[in-house]
Symmetry: C2
Subunit: 337 residues, 2 copies
Amino acid sequence: MKKKISINDIAQQLGVSITTVSFILNGRAQEKRISEKLVKKVLDFVQEVNYKPSSLARSLRTGKTNIIGLMVEDISDPFFSAIARAIEAIAYQSGYKIIYCSTENATEKTRELIAMYNERHVDGYIIVPPEGVEQDIKLLLDTGKPVVLIDRYLPAIDTDFVVVDNEKSAYDATCHLIANGYKNIAFVTIDSLQPQMLDRLSGYEKAMQENGLPQLVKEIAYKSSEQAMQHIAAFIDRKKEVDAIFFATNYLCVSGLKATAVKGINIPQNIGVVSFDDYELFELYSPSITTVSQPTDKIAEHAINLLMSRLKKAVSDKKFQKIILPTSLIVRKSSVR
Amino acid sequence: MKKKISINDIAQQLGVSITTVSFILNGRAQEKRISEKLVKKVLDFVQEVNYKPSSLARSLRTGKTNIIGLMVEDISDPFFSAIARAIEAIAYQSGYKIIYCSTENATEKTRELIAMYNERHVDGYIIVPPEGVEQDIKLLLDTGKPVVLIDRYLPAIDTDFVVVDNEKSAYDATCHLIANGYKNIAFVTIDSLQPQMLDRLSGYEKAMQENGLPQLVKEIAYKSSEQAMQHIAAFIDRKKEVDAIFFATNYLCVSGLKATAVKGINIPQNIGVVSFDDYELFELYSPSITTVSQPTDKIAEHAINLLMSRLKKAVSDKKFQKIILPTSLIVRKSSVR
DNA sequence: ACAAATATGTAAAACGTTTTAGCAAAATCA
DNA sequence: TGATTTTGCTAAAACGTTTTACATATTTGT
């Protein structure tokens, strides 16, 4: 078991000072007027013994860890894992590492995780915030840690965020159903007060209202995929008049598809279907499912670039960016008749 | 912007020594015979000012970071993200954090990532290894860092790993197709020499051989989902005699399903289908797809527990564990006629 | 009453960097 | 030639912990 080599060892073996080695390694040799001969000598030696500075010691001294904390609802959800993947790719190119975790959208768990990350001295955060973490995030911002929110924002918190235009997206999707002759369109969502969910709801409401159609909203207390399926099945049974369903999230739609499959309901003849969040399954399902597709790559790109630009400049210009991206409605067979 | 409080501040404000505070905070008060009165005083104060020790400084001193590096092929693949999720859950309970990355199964990228993680002083590694990283992993082991391999192992490396019984799984799946009357069964795999792929291949070969059936193996150089789809479609065109396909991975199967959908091929009448790796899509696809389901939770559980037990005991008993888990064949409609 | 034992605590080194402030020798200038 | 500037380098503090090795006061035993 080899011992790790330190800058001290380098300095000793070369008969120079630690300072000199440090300057050379940090590319400040010219600025510090260190002779080229010595620079080469040190660099060669460092190469030879394959010395790598301890990021721990460096971080302790500089206060920067080059680590970014990523907190999503569930890393195994395709929407979030796609975002995670894209964020990771960009971050690594700039020398940043990612620590991730799944919040399960649980307030307490998230608060603990934020505290943990804070102890770890992550440089910045990208968070999909559940409700009730306002104080914790405010604390981060107060201590100078940049925070970028994604997928949703917290009205009470003034910071950067990148979301999609949920209201317009839902409005457009609902109009699409209406244009295809559906009249009794139900909106199936989760029982959440989060802004992105409320926005989707109002998009639906607005479209229905403008067209003089009756609104029918079903809130599911999402516990498990199985339970959701049963609740949706029961809902379909009770509301015979429903001729289309707009699911507010991809996992609700998956549960919904299971329900319709069990009951032998014909899509799109009996019931038209549209879902929020695209998913490979929706493309291959038979019939293929019309969805509101979110630009995961763009979301990731904006979020990480926003965060990194904050990290570069110590001075925080107070102008926070509120980025609202458009979605695209991918029309497939499930909503066309 | 508040300044972070340090153990020094605590000691000063309370008029005690740093040492004392440290002992109390680390639960060594009794052992170090520090009076209960003082313990309470310190603990209360720490609570009051919400002091959290700097993990950086601690790590620098102790050499432990409580961070585990997780390297998978692609974090957005459902198989790997499921494992990541489970690992994360267990690790967090024991105070370990996860840093993850996607290797894309690329040797060079992986080697760089290992170097990066090493600089970060992660305590241990869970790796899905691509080919050609033997030396790098050996180096880790030599410096006393435990490494657990998952999904596949490296024959040249002696360390813990947890994989599934690929050969038997493939054998059973092939036999299942044979039992359902399929005779010209193709094996569609990627052009890789990794042991898990070779094992799946030999499981297929063994089953075909035992039953006196002709073997037909198609290797796809997987670049993109789109390309794979075209190659599979062309393969189906050329080999009219094929009446069943066994896909060696879930993403190959997805590409395959797209191909059959395009060509209007009837599953399971025209062609029977079985895939390795279960996937939500396979359950909901019509017809539902028979798969070899890997126990992702078990894999994750074994891997992280193995790693953590190595981390506990400084002494490394040289007996590495080679864990081989069984899979379960989930029979659905795509392979039954 | 005095030594020994026990109780309660502390000083200082160490982990491996970065960075400020400055020193000695050589070169330049007047 | 003596003062000044430039060149080339370094000592030491600081980041915030943990831990080893002691120190002092109090209690106990005889």
